[in-house]
Symmetry: D2
Amino acid sequence: MPPQPAPPRTGLWLVGARGGVATTAAVGCCALQQGLIGSTGLVTELPPLAAAGLRDWGQFVLGGCEIRAGELPQAALDAGLPPALVAACGDELRAIDQRIVPGVVHNSGSAVDQLAAGDAARRFDTPRAAVDAIKHDLDRFRESERLERVIVAVASSTEPPTDATRLPDSWEELEPLLATPHDCPLRASSLYAIAALESGCGFVNFTPSLGASCAAIDQLAIQVGACHAGRDGKTGETLLKTTLAPMFASRNLEVMSWVGHNILGNADGRILSSQENKQSKLGCKDAALDALLGREPGDGPQSLVSIEYVASLGERKTAWNHVHFRGFMGVEMTLQVTWQGHDSALAAPLVLDLARLLDASSARGERGAVGALACFFKNPVGAPLEGHAEQFAALLKHYAGRHSAEASDH
Amino acid sequence: MPPQPAPPRTGLWLVGARGGVATTAAVGCCALQQGLIGSTGLVTELPPLAAAGLRDWGQFVLGGCEIRAGELPQAALDAGLPPALVAACGDELRAIDQRIVPGVVHNSGSAVDQLAAGDAARRFDTPRAAVDAIKHDLDRFRESERLERVIVAVASSTEPPTDATRLPDSWEELEPLLATPHDCPLRASSLYAIAALESGCGFVNFTPSLGASCAAIDQLAIQVGACHAGRDGKTGETLLKTTLAPMFASRNLEVMSWVGHNILGNADGRILSSQENKQSKLGCKDAALDALLGREPGDGPQSLVSIEYVASLGERKTAWNHVHFRGFMGVEMTLQVTWQGHDSALAAPLVLDLARLLDASSARGERGAVGALACFFKNPVGAPLEGHAEQFAALLKHYAGRHSAEASDH
Amino acid sequence: MPPQPAPPRTGLWLVGARGGVATTAAVGCCALQQGLIGSTGLVTELPPLAAAGLRDWGQFVLGGCEIRAGELPQAALDAGLPPALVAACGDELRAIDQRIVPGVVHNSGSAVDQLAAGDAARRFDTPRAAVDAIKHDLDRFRESERLERVIVAVASSTEPPTDATRLPDSWEELEPLLATPHDCPLRASSLYAIAALESGCGFVNFTPSLGASCAAIDQLAIQVGACHAGRDGKTGETLLKTTLAPMFASRNLEVMSWVGHNILGNADGRILSSQENKQSKLGCKDAALDALLGREPGDGPQSLVSIEYVASLGERKTAWNHVHFRGFMGVEMTLQVTWQGHDSALAAPLVLDLARLLDASSARGERGAVGALACFFKNPVGAPLEGHAEQFAALLKHYAGRHSAEASDH
Amino acid sequence: MPPQPAPPRTGLWLVGARGGVATTAAVGCCALQQGLIGSTGLVTELPPLAAAGLRDWGQFVLGGCEIRAGELPQAALDAGLPPALVAACGDELRAIDQRIVPGVVHNSGSAVDQLAAGDAARRFDTPRAAVDAIKHDLDRFRESERLERVIVAVASSTEPPTDATRLPDSWEELEPLLATPHDCPLRASSLYAIAALESGCGFVNFTPSLGASCAAIDQLAIQVGACHAGRDGKTGETLLKTTLAPMFASRNLEVMSWVGHNILGNADGRILSSQENKQSKLGCKDAALDALLGREPGDGPQSLVSIEYVASLGERKTAWNHVHFRGFMGVEMTLQVTWQGHDSALAAPLVLDLARLLDASSARGERGAVGALACFFKNPVGAPLEGHAEQFAALLKHYAGRHSAEASDH
Ligand SMILES: NC(=O)c1ccc[n+]([C@@H]2O[C@H](COP(=O)([O-])OP(=O)(O)OC[C@H]3O[C@@H](n4cnc5c(N)ncnc54)[C@H](O)[C@@H]3O)[C@@H](O)[C@H]2O)c1
Ligand SMILES: NC(=O)c1ccc[n+]([C@@H]2O[C@H](COP(=O)([O-])OP(=O)(O)OC[C@H]3O[C@@H](n4cnc5c(N)ncnc54)[C@H](O)[C@@H]3O)[C@@H](O)[C@H]2O)c1
Ligand SMILES: NC(=O)c1ccc[n+]([C@@H]2O[C@H](COP(=O)([O-])OP(=O)(O)OC[C@H]3O[C@@H](n4cnc5c(N)ncnc54)[C@H](O)[C@@H]3O)[C@@H](O)[C@H]2O)c1
Ligand SMILES: NC(=O)c1ccc[n+]([C@@H]2O[C@H](COP(=O)([O-])OP(=O)(O)OC[C@H]3O[C@@H](n4cnc5c(N)ncnc54)[C@H](O)[C@@H]3O)[C@@H](O)[C@H]2O)c1
Ligand code: NA
Ligand code: NA
């Protein structure tokens, strides 16, 4: 009997490959491949999606880029992952490490500039030169690993906000700016996006940075026939907000103020605590509330979100939310929520899920922003602002062909 | 020009008419009729339902029954409602008071027996005699107020649990038991249900008591062509649970334990604190969790719900919830929620909404349990167990002909 | 029988007389004089102090100054005080209003400048001129009301921090600077202090502003034989901190971080939300923690305090505190506290208590900072940094001659 | 040079030696002896006590008794202690295991009866026989280990409440009852106490069981010249209550209700969840509140404490407290506290501290209940009910000769 041909494979290229999220994703993927951990935390392992013909974990090959020196097994221990698990995945982690190349720093802000002190980062005179270098990395990855498809996932440090008013609306106008650094406000996350799409890869932006979240880059995706998803993984406070706000709306309760205070102590928290990058995170988090509450834009509640770096907490992000609302006859009431989550353990499985789902979208030939992935993001592209339950129903419908009514009986 | 004919009217018959929920509903309805309060807290005033042709507040006439002496304006002040509002509604409240008749006590448990010490309560030798007396009250109400339709809403004190194993499954078998008290485990809430349905009224059970929530009484409703909804208004902890549990399910997070501790200080709280009635409330609240989490029955988390009477809190019910869950790689996390609600202010508008919606269902000729009203109840009859968002989408679809995708852009 | 001579009287001069704290103090004092409210919230009504011979409420006469127009009864309603109580105190409040004169604005920061737009504020070319004008007001108050003693209590809006490095250590050096505005960094709160002390009044600084909290002004107090107390009334988060931190210290638990997030919606909250004034509040709140935890200065936990203005909350200040600590064998644990207080209702009785106690200190001839009043302040002058229980024991000992062991059996 | 004589040693005899608290104490003591852990969590390592001449950790020898089979290293892993630490202490833990003898079950309630199924428990016909057997164990321990003194610490499972009305007030009357089982309501914890005291050992009761907390056994202690301390280690909610309640009292705030809900998942939690034993814990916890608030007995707030077993939490005890109080002018406010503690990590160091301190008391010849140790207990014997700060000051004064004023400047 002739040997079984090897199953086709998809590459997952992690940008920020030794960061908390990417490292946890890498260890998790290895552990899944070896059957060391269960499916908890993985959306694509829920019954309707598990039956939807997505690629197996064994068909994924990881690689990526970083701007800091280091080694994955040590990064995994630093991220607080269980030493026994890290040890069991040691060989495969070291293999992934071999596939991590120097990342690109461009317009990334002072906090990232400080991280990128050593040789592990590359800088280029023009955005175009950076894009071409990244494309070169992706091509090499695809060829050397004999990958059918590649998904690029940005999980690098949050960049400062990009001035969107300076961006043209069409790719035709944006593309030439890549040659003239002073006219081009794009930061590294968007250069990764452009490189991925121009190379025909799927692109995921797990960060609050701009990435592909502008009309011109979306147009590029549609033109080249690639797909993308983003922006900013929804893992804590916003997950709660998109879940709870529709409840208030469904009861016609008038939310007067919604205050969120977030404390965390990992590297992402340190970057976010630098004032310029903080704005980027806060901006993303406020956007949806009025819509979720069924209020006219600007007519909704006072909304405040603050984020502070508290070293002792490490990955244990704690979010306190205080909602002050009015009911029948004007009676005032409050809801308080305290979420004590593990940042990377919440985020990493979503990166793996997104790789699997965007791989399926790529295989089906979808192009542009995949709105059906909205439930994964704080600031979804390609989808209207909806509650989490509706977003989740849309996900199941898109990938498992299920209607919301059926969704609940898995 | 000939005089405009008076618009047709619907009666709302409140059982437990001077209790916290019913009194607040009565004051609220008067205040709405006079334009003294806004629509906050009323589900049927949300844009899609406000446009669905439901009857106006001015078309509703309130009446009901009680087992305690008292007067509505004073009951309203005791319930902590704003004195100025109560005063402004004084005439109409006194008119409603004229339409409150003595209630029926039957098998209602010792806590209710103590309430019903004076003449305001009636007792009968057989359930059938009680049913007939209630039907007589309803007929008089309909005729004297020239009502096109009548909705009966039970908002009386929680009864002890009814032993459902002693109930036959068909109306044919249950009906004869009404004549033989010792064979009939039904309590007053179910007698109100039978009387309402036999009289062709719509029936709402806002309490955890049995009411119409058994196969035989549902069969009666279908046979006579009347409709009903229940059981146990969803106003606090369970509203949160049906909202939050699907979020955990959608992320494949493993909830290990869910603890709820409720403290409140109103009359309902005092009744609930009596051990036999407590069981009824706790029973209702636990049922849905496994289903909402997508777990096999019995395979879900450890779930504990406790309720304590804390006099100083009055209507201010405070619910603390602690959810302990596991994510990717088994990492443990927690969510804590503190809900500080005003019990009657949350409940009363739902009673009014239910009257309006069940009136529309009656007009359309719906029969049996109206599952589309599930979002109002802790333990809905006639509907599968679903998350709150899905229940709310079903409500809009049923009454406003809207699909969930449209639901969010009101 | 000859007529009983009128009992001697003490004046309480409120700076910021129509603000939330002062207005609540004024209504409270009137209500106490008329027996309309009980003693809850008043420290000086605790048994040991009630028996300590302090002046009765009836012996106090209120007056003060303001920079905003307005009338006390309306200010009281705006502060959310019960309308019936305000009405019952109407005559006396109007009498107090007659004794409110225009306040002095000097170096008070832009937020206060905006408040002081109308004629109700006075400005002077030199600090000395302002001081003399204030002294004139105090003299008139004393004479026209035939007061034996006068206590000045600053409850005006928080000023920006004063640059203490520019202040000389002795009164001899500071006094001449009052004539030369450019060399004198003092703000209005300190000019009120100087005027009060030079006039022989007792002085209370209930605000985080500098007031008398510097060596040179303390020296003035000692020289003239007047006494003072401050700084920044301890009503919420710091009350908890000075209570809870010693508990951690007593168990040798290692607090790693202490995060406080405060939200409130009154006028004080609006001023504090202006960045320059915020610093003053935050500065005061952080100082004591290391000492309370028994740690070397700077060697204590990471400490973060944030304050946000949330309009819907009004006087209802909500403080969330998150304490992350380590115990035996390095095990990590947390304590979370949510305090939902009514700002002015907590503060106002303390202002009255301080007037009563400082009046007694004045009568006894105490001079300089009265450290025994430390338990009332976030940043006490004249006392070592101690836990709240120790401060309270010191209070009882000083004014009631009691030792801590007896303190608990009142 | 002649050899240095070995320093004198004290034995610590742990009753319930393989339970969570005792095992953690054993590992902790070994780790301290080897310098593997720091002093965090140990009260006796605070500067004033560290300088008070207490015996070194190296001078303590551990032994004890148990009713369950098992081995200490495994028990330590089961209690969630760090494997590396347990391994490092392996030899010494095995040595302690050699010194653990079968415990005595007597009147211990059904939950304990179930634990004691194997041979590891001994039962006796009369209390006196049990006492004599325990004394024999203690004598052997003292002799074989050449111990100068021995402290017995009861850390065994909570027993059901003992009917104190059946106990005579004098030792003279109680002693004869030991011979007649039916007349003697004492349970094992009190038999351990009697045996310890008759053998001249110091006795610590870390549990809510009766132990030595009755007049007759205290009299025995005084007669034989031994000392004892108890009852029920104060590690969580009561620590907070004794800290926070005096704060409310110091401000004359009227606490109207204080609700505590505790969830935990260790073996102690399982025992406490059995109804008869629950009473014992709840009884202890409620006692002090009125006194701490300065209220007449019975005139204080409504107080509710509930404890539930939640398996997933293990040693992580979570306590939610809700305090509803009134301030000036009757304004209502709330305080909520969530304590997330590690049960054994909080308790074990206190057992070690108590051994050290009671050893010093024994050395000084103290007799009867040592009230100065009140700060360690929920229901202290030999001391008036006081706030935690005052109790702690009393501790420092007794053992370090310090006055409260000095206490804070360590
Ligand atoms: N729950 C979550 O953890 C979560 C949720 C949503 C979004 N995110 C976002 O994901 C991103 C990563 O979070 P994290 O916790 O892993 O942060 P991290 O700081 O641990 O990791 C980021 C990594 O990116 C690297 N990096 C920075 N700039 C780069 C560049 N230009 N090219 C290549 N590598 C670069 C850094 O060296 C670092 O190793 C952040 O933007 C964060 O806001 C995280
Ligand atoms: N948020 C809420 O308030 C809420 C939510 C869900 C369910 N409920 C349920 O609604 C019911 C009413 O709550 P409430 O707060 O108004 O209680 P309540 O005690 O204030 O009022 C109940 C009234 O029913 C009367 N009553 C008792 N038995 C009766 C009988 N057989 N016939 C006629 N009247 C009778 C009592 O005298 C009382 O006036 C309770 O069962 C409660 O559990 C309330
Ligand atoms: N719990 C509490 O409310 C609390 C606790 C501690 C400290 N404080 C402090 O007490 C002060 C007053 O608080 P509030 O809530 O009453 O604020 P508020 O804003 O309601 O009142 C302050 C009043 O001071 C007046 N004012 C400002 N500058 C003045 C000046 N130079 N001379 C005379 N009047 C002047 C303002 O016009 C205003 O009416 C603030 O500094 C606040 O931080 C309040
Ligand atoms: N934070 C805390 O952990 C804390 C605080 C205060 C009080 N306590 C009390 O300390 C005690 C021990 O708590 P734990 O968590 O270690 O419980 P545990 O159940 O883990 O340990 C108790 C041990 O005692 C043993 N035992 C039972 N009866 C015995 C007997 N008659 N003789 C000898 N051994 C016996 C059991 O077999 C068990 O091993 C409990 O009473 C608990 O309420 C604990
Ligand atoms: Na109610
Ligand atoms: Na204030």
